[in-house]
Every structure is written in structure tokens, then in C-alpha cells.
Subunit: 68 residues, 6 copies
């Protein structure tokens, strides 16, 4: 599958925390930690675990820009 | 200002392309290009230009996870 | 690639309209038209054209529920 | 109320699962299941229950496109 | 139609600017201007014009919190 | 930090409810309550509490428009 989302950041999962319905997955992308909030079902469906290679995928319209 | 968004990725702007109402800003974050689709007004308001230091800011609930 | 997004709706592209930076792609999903607003770059990168098989992909946290 | 969101997919609720603060509502849209992640408050406010007619509402800018 | 989105802010449209595919609609909500970026099609479909009563509708998962 | 998000609505926090992983923060913006669904980590990181001054921050592409 190839997706229109412009941002596919390759990395490694460093943490998976499941809540009641929502899980937080942290991915190390070249030394920067990216946090994803996804459904528990997605975690189970993809078998996400600490240490796995995974990408953070973000649609361009969901990215903001900040300056100091 | 400190924001709740979990992902603030520091980098440098490599490209600003303005459309009729929507602009695309590309930020080099440690060698990875992150694309943001924002309003032309925001580009003008923040004075965004190629070469500036800037961060890509992303809410955790807008991040998906993909595996091969 | 397998993605955490819970909604992957298979269909056929019925329309691609490019703007200055943003394109609108309409996909027929079992008789229902789903409209996606994505970057022109994504349209070019994926080679999206009328008549192609394609899926509309939506993160669960971007779906609202309405009742009459 | 008429809303700007381009995608209003009519269907029937097949499942409501409440978590601590976030609920998952699954809607059968012409044989395809669409999952919505919304607040528990919204579920209570709209009285969402299995078997009810309901629509999945999605803003066009939240729809991505994928090809095989 | 009643929607799960937790934030429905009533106001009056002060500005509609159409681009090639994307429009910006500004709504005065009790003295605060809220900007919406929506499709030109939605503007036409709802007949949005300066001076009309309208609400800004925002899903709770799209709201961030900032402190000084 | 200055952010590209077009909507920064100043107010006061009236309620913080933490779930297993996701919290709901309600902000009074000039008499209108705005609900934000954010991570528990963000609540802890920013030290969000009832009575604090805070802003609801919303990207323009996440705002829809509704008419009666």
C-alpha cells in the first residue's frame, strides 16, 4: 500500500502504553521521539511492540509550524 | 507559549510554496523532510522563509503508525 | 505497508481536481462518494487518475458521529 | 444543522465501546464498518446505541488516499 | 442533525475568501475571530456569505491547550 | 513560541478529567466552553489545573462550518 500522507518517518518503537480504548505508541525517529495516539485495536492488529521497526505517518494538513 | 501537542520537531525550513490560500512548508528535521500544509496567512504572520529555524508541531492524535 | 488507521475504504477514483497546492480526489466507495483533500504532490506521487482503484483512509479519531 | 464536512456516510451503529474518557463507535455503512473514536460525553449526549441509524461524518482534509 | 463534535461555537461570518480549491471562512464568535479552512464546494453548498449566522464546529480531539 | 495555528482562544480552565491515557480539558472562552481531548502526559507536562489561564489552540483546517 502506498499512501498520500506526505510524512512517513521511519524509526523504532520504544514504548507502547495501552489505556482503556486508546494507546500511546512512542517511536524513535533518528533520536527524536514521536508520540502517536491510536486505538488499542490498531496496536493489536499490527502487533506493535517495543523494539519493532515502524513509521510515524502524518498527513501534511495535520502539521503546524512554530518559530521561537 | 507552551503547547500540549506532544510532537515538536526542531529543524530548518527548506522550502515555502504559497498557493491561492494554502501554502506548503517543508522543514528538514535531522535529515528527514517534514511537509506542513498551512494557510498563507500563517506564512505571512510568522514570516516563514527558506533557511529559518522552525519546528514541525503535531498533535499525538494526528500521528498514525505503519509497519512493513 | 500496513497502517494503524482503522478505516480503509476500497473504491474507484471518479474525479481528481487539482488546485494551486491542494487537490480534491473523489472516490466511489460502494456507491457513496468520499472526498479527500490532499496535496498536489501526493496526486503526482501516486499517479492518481480517474478510473483507478484506490482506498480512502481515515484515522478513527477523525470520524464524528451524527444522528437526525 | 447542515455542516461543511464533505463526507456524511449514512449507516447503522453495530457497536459502542466506552473507555475511561474515549469511546469507539462502529457504524455499518453499506456493508463496510467505519470506526469513530469520540468522547464518552458525545455518546451519552446523542444517546448512541447499537442498532440506531447514524452517520459517520468526516472532513475532506482528514481523508487520505492509498493505492496498492 | 446532531453531531458528536463537542465544540459548536455560534457566531456570524465576517469573511469568505475562496482559493483554487480551498476557502477560508472567518466567523466572529463573541468578539473572537475563528478561521475555518474548508472546500470551495462546501462554501457553495451551504451558501456561505459574509453576514450569515454560522457556527464553527470542532472535534475535541482537534483542540490543543497552550499556556504562557 | 509562535505557532501557525490560526485559532488561539484565550480562556480559563474549568475542568480537567483524566482517563486511562486521554484527558478532557474544558476551557471557558468568553462564556463558551471549549473541550480539548489531549494526552494525560500533556496535562502533567503543562501542569494543567482548574482555574488556570490557558488557550484552546486549533488549526484552521480542523474547523468546520455549520448553518441551521
Amino acid at each position: 500500500m502506498k499512501i498520500s500522507a506526505r510524512n512517513v518517518l521511519k524509526g523504532k518503537i520504544v514504548d507502547v502504553v495501552k489505556g482503556a480504548t486508546t494507546a500511546h505508541v512512542r517511536i524513535d525517529v533518528g533520536g527524536t521521539i514521536v508520540t502517536a495516539s491510536i486505538t488499542n485495536e490498531a496496536v493489536a492488529d499490527l502487533g506493535l511492540e517495543k523494539g519493532m521497526s515502524a513509521s510515524a505517518v502524518i498527513k501534511a494538513s495535520d502539521v503546524m509550524v512554530a518559530v521561537d
